[in-house]
Symmetry: C2
Subunit: 340 residues, 2 copies
């Protein structure tokens, strides 16, 4: 008993000393800004205020750790989506690689235009053409083979304007935001209209988000095990989940089973995710990245079918109190390493 | 600089003292057994050896934290599934509650048998009947309403033999196993053939597993938002995921995107999950709970269509080196609180 008491003194004293050390340190140097690439302004303030409100135990707005779910769109929210979704660039690349096995593609659209390098026709592709291209190039293989193909493409393909790997065309301010949220015990999820497995192939390295926290569009998967052989998982030529617009809250409910506490998007495809988040009530944060920076990135929005930011979305954002992030005025840097 | 150095001494000294305190403590009292309800034997040894092998950094079998995924079947693996799946008992309860709105049920099987209390017919129900009952009672409402119905049922309904709430008919040794794995930085998932949302309604409280770590069968979900109104999520009368047999590895790939490091089941419905786990190679743990304890719980297996443990499953377990847990000889206690 005496020995245990002596030990207790040893333990309590050091803990008190360690605490006073930490205090002394915090007087010497102020805590570093968790969002250094964000200019001071309403967007940065909205983030900091929100995190304080839900993590301060003394306030009625406090939210337990288990409910701190943050969901992020990917294309146009975490990385560049212009002049074309990266996944579509990958699909075009795969059409060329697979052409030898599909002689009919040389006479059949939308494949013919790609194989002929017919830019005029490619520029007129509509969503149906892209859907067909994506199913043709994203299915019919095992998930393991698809992962290798996606990684191989991303290891070398470069963005036509920025001349960098696509995985380097990610937004530094959003990386800081995700880290800040995780440091405050949020689980950060990607909820992408793009291919779930394509995004999983780089999300851990690029964003620090593990595969189980990537929700996205997916074909049906089929478990196949020949007698005595190793089982494989096939990607079947049929769509199971289209994770866009209504599909985003539907898949959030399917995968997570509770409403996000905050959600981040950039286009009409994210509208329902933000509505669903806000409907949870209490202190929530809904934000939209607005691409208004032609000089450092792109200025588009209502004009583009990629990442459409319609007038009605802007009207809803204003009415509902969603925060619109101006890339031009809210972000000090666009990409990592302060390169731009 | 001097001040900082002095602080450093304050910090280092207490840490060293705290470490020696912990050492002294560990000499005084051995670490408590993390699996006190497991008898010493091959099953317990397999668990402890596996956890040591994948968490010891000095060994080649070490596995990084991010890849420590553990998947558990629910019915018959984490809680009692005899004499009938709890979810089916819930469905029968709902048929009675909804009968007034469905006059045709009084003349239509399988509903009529339930409303008439016709035990002979109920005893002859096949899987198709159960599927029909489950779709009829588990869809057509919002996810919020379904959650309330499931919780209301589980708050009062008792197991016919054990006279306890169903959420108390959970296996104490498996609770200890899940806690032991989580203490070693595993993420524990449920992968259930039953309704994902039904299991989510009690998994956090009963097992410490949050909704986003429950994978299961699910109807299609539909996001509905009337103009200006609150959005709701409807459970639609159509099956999206049947999470049994092949569906288990398929949904593990869909939800998690990597192979489990260990998997636990009890029936032919879990066979593919264990095969998929083992195919990851290296040090993995595959276990099957064998219900061989008629006195304290039930003895069934090859005889019952609920939780079928066929001879071919036992042969595969023996051939593949999966560990079969004998409820009778491996478990000291069956239920929490040492009641049985």
């Amino acid at each position: 008993m005496i020995r245990r008491f002596a030990c207790l003194i040893f333990l309590v004293t050091p803990l008190a000393l360690a605490a006073s050390f930490r205090q002394a340190q915090s007087l010497d140097t102020p805590a570093p800004d968790p969002l250094p690439s964000w200019n001071n302004g309403p967007a940065k303030k909205a983030i900091v205020d929100f995190v304080q409100a839900v993590t301060d135990k003394a306030r009625p707005s406090f939210v337990p750790v288990a409910e701190r779910i943050a969901t992020f769109d990917n294309d146009g929210t975490l990385w560049v989506e212009q002049p074309m979704y990266t996944q579509v660039v990958f699909a075009l690349d795969r059409v060329k690689a697979l052409a030898a096995k599909h002689p009919d593609w040389h006479t059949k659209q939308p494949f013919k235009a790609i194989l002929d390098g017919d830019r005029d026709t490619i520029a007129k592709f509509v969503k149906k053409d892209l859907g067909e291209l994506i199913l043709a190039t994203h299915t019919g293989m095992t998930t393991q083979a698809f992962d290798a193909q996606a990684k191989s493409f991303l290891a070398t393909a470069k963005h036509p304007r920025f001349k960098k790997l696509y995985t380097q065309c990610i937004y530094q301010p959003m990386l800081e935001l995700m880290r800040f949220l995780r440091a405050n015990d949020f689980k950060t999820y990607i909820v992408t209209g793009g291919s779930q497995q394509f995004v999983r192939s780089f999300s851990e390295e690029a964003y620090g988000i593990p595969p189980e926290q990537v929700i996205g569009s997916s074909p049906k998967l089929k478990y196949i095990k020949k007698d005595g052989g190793e089982p494989v998982m096939m990607r079947v030529h049929a769509l199971l989940l289209l994770d866009d617009e209504d599909g985003k809250p539907e898949d959030i409910e399917l995968f997570i089973g509770r409403k996000p506490l905050c959600a981040f998007g950039n286009s009409t495809g994210d509208r329902q995710m933000l509505e669903w988040t806000q409907s949870g009530g209490g202190t929530r944060l809904m934000m939209l990245v607005h691409h208004d920076d032609a000089e450092r990135e792109y200025a588009y929005g209502a004009k583009s079918w990629i990442g459409t930011f319609s007038d009605s979305l802007m009207a809803e954002a204003n009415k509902q109190g969603w925060t619109v992030i101006s890339m031009k005025s809210d972000w000090k840097h666009i990409f990592p390493q302060g390169a731009r």
